[in-house]
């Protein structure tokens, strides 16, 4: 394997790193104005998407450290697209004083996402997790003069590094028992030898790190603080990009690497394995996320608790365990990421005008700017899962795949729980909408300064996408299913 071949196959990642370096360099000169940097980053991301499209159809490097397949290419594009929209949100964020550095770290975090998505080997996955984690800690604490931001960053760091220490210890045990870190070899070894308890312990500990990344209860404690305290683009990226990549990797680890240690979480036949553990996480996340969200008065915090619940729903697809289930998980998490990015875009605009993101800051938004209010309704109703929005189809696909999986509808208990959770969630999403459309504005908003065009356009595009994928999901679903084949 020459360097040239490596560079050819890792060119999308490499080109993003190059873009980040150029952004850093430009930021040092006095030409580094915000629009220039934003434009550069966007062009870089667009070129990287083009590079992904030009990758070969299938390739495996170094025992799966870098895997190129339709699935990884598709999700590299999704990661890049999410980074693209995040850059658009960041452009008008006045609290970021080192803008070039911010964009550079955002781009490098995106490299972390692409590595996570495009690897089937535990060491590279671990390094990708750490690359992503370290970038996100910095992005969270970036507005360090703000005490909320600094505190959120530190909390994220403490929880995150503890979780990654557990993952690492788990990986070391898995490696020791199977003698390899490549998921394919692992799957092969696991299917022939009978499972040692130490291996099971290793698997459980490995999963903790991912449960943390997707904010599944009880590993969700960081999420509300980070969603509320971090600068808005960082929070949006954590809620979207980090989550999508984590679900892709988690799916690959569970369904490829540890497939033969699955067990069963059917209500009539629980068998030890990872499946009962994941189902427990899912159930706790759905209940805790939805009930605590009811009590929130800050919109970002509310979205955080609802994110915990959505993480729980998304796990249903992995529990179903077949190709249908995995594609439902991937579809739902993609849709969810787009929706949350859009919602954070609206929050950014509201915060700019009213100086806060509590529920009362949204009062009267319907009169002030009807278009923005409509966008927010699209996002929230999609999260609640109402037709004809994308969230409805996503949930339908997820729940039906979980319902059909296993003998005798074994996952029925979880599906019922998830439906119940969705019902509760409808209530708190409607409260936000009620405040937006019916409540009178209580505070006098500062004179609406010129709205940042880029954020408005990005939010509008995202709302259109959510609507489009709701009306016609077949395009994306077909692509995901084909990629999994």
């Amino acid at each position: 394997m020459s360097y040239f071949d490596l560079l050819r196959l890792a060119w999308p990642e490499a080109s993003i790193v190059l873009t980040a370096l150029v952004v850093l360099a430009i930021g040092l000169t006095n030409r580094g104005t915000r629009p220039a940097i934003t434009l550069l980053a966007m062009v870089g991301i667009a070129l990287a998407i083009k590079n992904v499209l030009r990758l070969p159809h299938d390739a495996i490097l170094f025992n799966g450290m870098l895997v190129i397949s339709p699935l990884t290419s598709l999700f590299k594009i999704v990661s890049l697209a999410l980074a693209f929209f995040t850059v658009a949100l960041a452009q008008s964020e006045s609290s970021l004083r080192h803008y070039a550095e911010y964009i550079a770290i955002l781009l490098l975090a995106c490299v972390g996402l692409m590595l996570l998505v495009g690897s089937e080997e535990l060491l590279t996955i671990f390094i990708g997790l750490e690359l992503l984690g370290l970038s996100l800690y910095v992005l969270t604490a970036f507005d360090k003069i703000d005490i909320y931001s600094a505190e959120a960053g530190l909390k994220y760091f403490l929880f995150g590094s503890t979780a990654s220490a557990f993952t690492l210890f788990g990986i070391s045990l898995v490696y020791g028992m199977a003698g390899s870190t490549s998921l394919a070899v692992l799957a092969q070894k696991l299917s022939v030898t009978n499972a040692q308890p130490l291996l099971a312990a290793g698997i459980v500990m490995t999963l903790i790190g991912f449960a943390f990344k997707i904010a599944a209860a009880p590993f969700h404690l960081w999420a509300p603080d980070v969603y509320q305290g971090a600068p808005i683009p960082s929070a949006a990226f954590i809620a979207s990009g980090s989550k999508v990549a984590s679900f892709v990797v988690l799916g690959k680890i569970l369904l490829v690497g540890f497939d033969s240690a699955r067990g069963s979480s059917d209500w009539h036949a629980m068998i030890a394995g990872w499946s009962p553990i994941i189902s427990l996480l899912a159930a706790m996340s759905i209940l805790l996320g939805n009930f605590v969200a009811l009590a929130q008065t800050n919109v970002r915090r509310l979205l955080a608790y609802s994110a915990v619940a959505h993480g729980g729903y998304t796990l249903l697809g992995l529990l179903a365990g077949d190709r249908d289930g995995f594609s439902a998980t991937l579809f739902y998490t993609t849709i969810y990421a787009l929706t949350l990015l859009g919602a954070f875009g609206v929050i950014a605009l509201v915060r700019r005008e009213t100086g806060g993101d509590d529920l009362q800051n949204f009062a009267g938004l319907g009169q002030r700017s009807p278009l923005l209010a409509v966008c927010m309704s699209i996002f929230l109703l999609s999260l609640a899962g109402l037709p004809p929005l994308a969230g409805f189809f996503g949930k339908f696909y997820l729940f039906s795949s979980a319902f059909r999986a296993g003998a005798n509808h074994g996952l029925l208990w979880l599906v019922a729980l998830a439906l119940f959770g969705s019902l509760i969630s409808l209530y708190y999403y409607l409260i936000v909408l009620k405040v937006i459309f019916l409540d009178e504005r209580s505070t006098t908003a500062t004179a609406p300064a010129a709205r940042p065009m880029l954020v408005e356009v990005a939010t509008g595009v995202l709302a259109a996408l959510v609507l489009l994928f709701g009306v016609d999901p077949s395009g994306l679903v077909a692509r995901i299913v084909a990629a999994l084949a």
């Binding site: 770290i105 490098l108 975090a109 690359l131 308890p197 130490l198 312990a201």
Partner: protein
């Protein structure tokens, strides 16, 4: 003799590891951390991983401890004055840790390989720098490049975060 050395190193590591978390004074904790890692490096060497052992000493005694001491001095952290200890939380944490340890140890006890000794090596691995290097630059070339990106992120992040800003918000 081997076994005696093993337990000496292991006890050194564990006792000073406990000292890290029990000391009230951060400086004492940092120094205990280094002694604990010296014990760990000894264990690495007993496992014929000389390069890793040396790296462990260099990185931790040479870099990480200096970093810790620097921050402790920079922020002028003194020994903590006795805060009121939250006994239920402390007891809960201790119980969780204890249960965790018992679980893992029992799982290790049920491992069939755990009773086996290490197979002999054909020749000494005292020159294992070369072997590690060859592995690093062939099979692990890709993650090695990625580590470079990770260190870049850490560098930018640290500079941005610890730069002093004029608070004129």
């Amino acid at each position: 003799m081997q076994l005696f050395l093993f337990w000496c190193a292991a006890l050194l590591m564990l006792v000073f590891g406990v000292a890290v978390i029990l000391n009230r004074n951060p400086v004492a904790s940092a120094l205990s951390l280094v002694v604990s890692f010296l014990g760990l490096a000894t264990l690495f060497m007993m496992l014929d991983a000389y390069f890793i052992g040396i790296i462990q000493v260099l990185v931790y005694a040479g870099a990480v401890m200096v970093l810790f001491l620097f921050i402790i001095m920079l922020l002028d952290l003194r020994a903590e004055n006795l805060r009121k200890i939250n006994w239920p939380a402390t007891a809960g944490g201790a119980v969780v840790a204890f249960v965790f340890l018992i679980q893992v140890l029992s799982v290790i006890g049920r491992l069939t390989d755990a009773k086996k000794t290490f197979p002999p090596l054909a020749r000494s691995t005292i020159d294992d720098v070369r072997n590690v290097g060859v592995t690093l630059f062939t099979n692990f070339n890709f993650p090695f490049q990625v580590i470079g990106v990770l260190v870049l992120v850490a560098t930018i992040g640290v500079v941005v975060l610890s730069k002093r800003e004029l608070a004129n918000k």
